[in-house]
Amino acid sequence: MDRREFLKRLGLGTAAGAAVLAGCKTSSSSSGEDEVLDGHGTMTYRVNPNTGDSVSLLGFGMMRLPVVAGGTERDHPDSPIDQDMVNRQVDYALEHGVNYFDTSPAYCRGLSERATGIALERHPRKSYFIATKLSNFSPDTWSRKASIAIFENSLKELRTDYVDYLLMHGIGMPPGGDEGMKAFYGRYIDNGILDWLVEQKNKGRIRNLGFSYHGDIRVFDMLLKWHDEGRYHWDFAQIELNYLDWDYANEINPRNTDASYLYAELHRRGIPAVIMEPLLGGRLANQPANIMQRMQRQEPQSSAARWAMRFAGTPEGVLSVLSGMTYLEHLKENVETYSPLRPLNDEENALLMTLAQDIYELKSVPCTACNYCMPCPYGIDIPGNFAHYNRSISDDKMPSHNPLQSDFQKQKREYLIDYDRRVPKLRQADHCIGCGECLSHCPQGIKIPDELKRINDFVEYLKQN
């Protein structure tokens, strides 16, 4: 083949390829005649009544940023954040109408704000909203000086002189006894930090002041009472909302409160709700076959993640739904889901409520892999252990509790090999010493040492049979 012929063939090939692509486009757009498909319009926006901000329904959670070695910090703890990929994702998000970016000084081993700042600095400051938090969890940082330093450092890391949305981080934590209330007073009231934040808001360094809530409901109720009394004004609040927590949060853990209550309380007062954990750290995106099939029967093309995102976006008092996205693919899918949002109808809502009951019955560990408990001082990969257990449930690979069952040995072998593959031996549940150091960090209020013991007892049962 000479050069000319080669070029000719190349030309033909390209033309054919273009034709195929064009064909695809036509067929996909023509199939949307009957109903409006996701991802074929523009992003849905909700208006913040306080500032008039037009906020994208999809918010970018900067908690699970990709690392160079692949996956997140959970997969490769020593690998640095993949800044190039973060930049690409932020560019893509802005291009497709996402304008709310949520970070914290604690996320990604404390590296999230910097990565977010670098990526966003490349775009006009007015084209997006930054949300960050005052994450003064450690009692060492409860002093006024240390807390102010955290806020000032956030501005520095984010390369900006104001924050659009500032949250008191995780009020109500840790759950149990009066700990949540004590911590709230210690972190924000006794040191005068809440008043200082209001000052900053008046100065224009904070545009919206709010809080994120986990744990003790009395703290949540108290803050709303202050709002009613006019003592403080909450421009927004961040709560955990998804179709499992809507009615089952309290059943899963008696210390937690159903999302239906939290949302209603905010909505009643006209406080916009920012939603976290719409997918429960990906757990709702990964469902056992029987659950999946029931969703698919209703809508064959829709993923489990899309169902959950639609649920979280449907209530009209929701300002933005945060998804901690690691992969461009997740970002693309979520953008499609909300461009525009197809609100759930009653029938669809009823289906999810039935499924929630069944998912609750699976008794998986309600871990969202937020990593707040990490690092465990004794080296245990806490979310990794829970993820393996949960995945065995969602992949229908849980070995039977009856060793005489025919495929017990095979399932057992696979479960144990998977365990070793996913969690290094020294970081498995058998190394938990039960010190309870992690308990106060868990926003889900999981009794981590008990759950780890449950998992280890199961592993021992498998190994000994």
Binding site: Y107, C108, M374
Partner: protein
Amino acid sequence: MLRKIRISLASLMLIIITVLLCGINYKLSMAFAWVAKIQFLPALMAFDIVVILFLLLLTALFGRIYCSVICPLGVMQDVFGYVGGKVKKNRFSFSPEKKWLRYGVLFFFVLCLIVGFAPVTTLLAPYSAYGRIINSLIKPICDFINNALADSAAQNGSYLFSEVDIWTRSVTVPVVSVLTLLILALLALANGRTYCNTVCPVGTALSLVARNAIFKIRFDKSKCRNCSLCEKNCKASAIDFKSGTIDYSRCVVCGDCIEVCHFDALRFCAGGAKASDAPAEPDASRRAFIVGAAVAAGGVAAAQTLSKVDGGMAALTEKEAPERQTPLVPAGAVSVDRFKKHCTACQLCVSSCPNNVLRPSTSPERFMQPEMSYERGWCRPECKRCGDVCPAKAISPINGGDKKDIHIGHAVWIESNCLVTSADVACDCCARHCPQGAITMVKTNDNPQKAVPMVDVSKCTGCGACENLCPARPFSAIYVEGHEQHVYS
């Protein structure tokens, strides 16, 4: 014909025993364990009368075919000899038997067996020497290949292979193995079966019977044309063509001479010789040996970090083995002393241990014999593999649910290392993981604030779960001290 049968059988046996010694797969090991169990010295140590009688009968009938087919170290030398023969043909010559050396070594060896002097017995035992060579030189390669396969299996969602830990269990054993291999390879390349005919105590013992074997290679002087090919190709240096005699105490019945003789002057057939009775090798007797004193291990508590940011993994220091006053040997060994006298240090149990507990000892008086330690795992209740594979019954097989009833040692708490006392951590790790329920957390009268671990020695089996899982690093705050005599309950 004889040569071909010999080569095929020997190759088969060598492959089987090598696979076994690599400990590739437990099911395979169980299927192949018999090959180790028909080795002469292990069978003698195991007092397996059936195997010993069978081997003696075999030798009385056919001469030292054991050395040509069953003994892996002998077959390995033949492989080197084959290579040597490619380089230089017809390179052997007759040499007279060095009786003083052979019987001297045998006598010394038997003496060491009787008194239980492990450095000599483990070094000279042929099967064990081969076991060590495979364990230190081939098994690591197998493990690397296995882990590469496990890696790709993990990527493809297959469960055919799973990863194993690769770590240095000993320095002595690889060094000894390499030296053994080098010496044997050089000897075999140059002079054939020198080791088997002058040093190997098993060879010498068998030759007592082989001298009068019924089937022998017989020299028909009438057909011989004095070409000397038979002598030059006898790797045992056993043929003297001039006098037309063969030294049957050294002939390993390889059949090479029959093959090279153009005149059919050599034949493998029965003659008028009578089979003699087997000499009984005495079993080891008793000898007391006190192990030197040891100091309790010091330790460092795991570092506590304040969780200010999310994520990350705490770094973990590797565990270090404590010094134990009494060594830990597996359930089934009955006593440290019995174990020392029976074990030939072939390392088969070390290769087979899935929990990374067994490794060769560093102590000179238990030279290369395995012992247990719990830095990388603990002796799990459901595992009985070492006893299943041990050909010498140094570790006897445990049947049924007995393992939990055998107490090989007991846990000892070291207060100064414990996180409860030294770092004020509410740790109950040893108690929560003890499979026997032998450890309870007790608030003592002296210190009513903190619950510290108390060991009920009567329940403790010495499995080492507590030692292995203890968060104190590098030295655990609880460790297992061995029992001289295992206690059965």
